[in-house]
Symmetry: C2
């Protein structure tokens, strides 16, 4: 099967799992449930849960403990988008062709739905202790990675520097690397690390998956910048040239198009060779990593 | 010693613990660390960590595992204030006589510092697993209570209904009860439950502390409303009559002043008699509960 199609099938599988963990839309606080579920189900590649599940399989994981973490990482990714879209941040009214959460539910509910998703992610992940009773220490380790990579030393840290640089209208190469590694990279690293941890991989292998995740995250983000310059609007489903119009300094601006493309290939090659050096194998994961950095949307 | 003075001493003790868990203000993302630490250290009663620690002592707790949870509950309380003060929410520029976090650091950083505090609360609480190695199941149970009571079925749930009612300019008695129980009550319940859980209390006792916390939370909030009408501005250190000016429907408006005062006493008596029915004793906790509902600020 074509990897693009296979990727989309897996996204549908993830959504079936996600639906199981959604809060019921009832009670006095119904609106926040609606806003949470809206922002979670309005679309997306489901890349992080897919990477998590495939890494879990790579290391021979079989339990259901992975599911609450797959839901949790997608909730965290989505809360970050909801808050990112707020007027005081990127002020976006549309995402994936649909109204953003604050555009649909109001700005106060945008803040609260984001808070709710972040908190609910931890609430959801904690249910893994009920499933993984044989190895609770794995769930502890996975919780720690989730919290660390989502927080000030991970995703939020990257977001802070990104927001500050936009204001200052200029960014150094070191700082752009920091933003890419943290804002995009951290959750991808977390996904692969948690998959490995819950499958019982040893520390060395978890470390390798962190490095694979880091390289893939960086390659993924640079490819995003490239597509914003050279992509086909019909394939992408959105306008190109947005970074330039928003005066956003990207990796491509710093390194030039040619070097950026080379870096994407190099990073992806490094990630793949690390993955293939393991004595484990996962055909889909290998194909997916290759596809991600050569994707056209 | 005068209970007011003793309460203030305990707050200082809590701050000494809190400081140990603050992030260092360095790195590219320095601003968010500054904003987090500012909002955490700018003042406050430290009621929740004090209640947590005293309940822990009540049930004979002695380990250091309580400390990260004391820090975590205060971080969650403070993130909720930071987001509550945002322009799209209550739009407050001053809190405890100082600029609010978004007033000082900008609105985008207000959102991010709140997110960061919420996430860091979980990151901090998870370190209790490193300390409480004999009974990790207690830390698991405490984590679950923390996440549940802070989230959509707890504090955030109450906040959502409060925000919606402000918009609709009217609120039913049932809904106001829901807001009080959730927005204020949930974290106080969590504090007392977590104290009990980490000390190894059995389920029945944890349930009793949840009820004590619920009554205390409600009494505390009604007393707040009363003080906003009848308080002494010099003692309170803030203007009275704010609820009326903001057209906020309070418990006092619904029930009248006389019944409200009676309810505060009844609720506090019920909480105290529940507490005293236990075969454990904590003189400070008993005095504190009594003081809280009769306080003048």
């Amino acid at each position: 099967m074509d990897i693009q199609k296979e990727f989309e099938y897996r996204a549908t599988d993830v959504e079936r799992i996600l639906v199981k963990y959604l809060p019921k839309e009832s009670g006095y606080q119904k609106t926040v449930f609606e806003a949470m579920n809206y922002s979670l189900m309005v679309g997306g590649k489901r890349l992080r849960p897919i990477l998590m599940e495939e890494t879990f399989k790579l290391f021979g994981g079989t339990t259901k403990a992975i599911e609450p973490f797959m839901a949790a990482i997608e909730m965290i990714h989505n809360y970050s988008l909801v808050h990112d879209d707020l007027p005081e941040m990127d002020n976006d009214m549309l995402r994936r062709g649909n109204p953003t959460t604050h555009a649909k539910f109001g700005q106060a509910m945008g803040v609260l739905a984001g808070d709710a998703l972040l908190n609910y992610a931890f609430e959801t992940a904690l249910t893994a202790f009920d499933v993984e009773t044989e190895h609770p220490e794995r769930v502890v380790a996975a919780m720690k990675v989730l919290a660390h990579k989502a927080g000030v030393y991970g995703m939020i840290g990257g977001q802070v520097v990104d927001v500050e640089e936009e204001k200052q209208n200029g960014i150094s190469h070191n700082r752009i690397d920091f933003v890419y590694e943290h804002k995009t990279g951290a959750l991808i690293e977390a996904s692969m690390m948690i998959g490995a941890i819950l499958a019982g991989a040893d520390e060395e292998h978890v470390k390798i998956m962190e490095e694979v995740g880091s390289k893939i995250g960086l390659a993924f983000q640079i490819q995003d910048d490239i597509l914003d310059v050279e992509g086909d609007e019909k394939v992408l489903g959105k306008e190109v040239g947005q970074d330039a119009r928003n005066c956003k300094v990207t990796y491509v601006l710093f390194e030039g198009m040619e070097k950026s493309k080379r870096d994407v290939i190099d990073l992806s090659d490094e990630a793949l060779s690390k993955l293939l050096s393991l004595s484990y194998e996962n055909r889909f994961l290998t194909k997916l990593l290759e596809f991600l950095v050569h994707r056209e949307k």
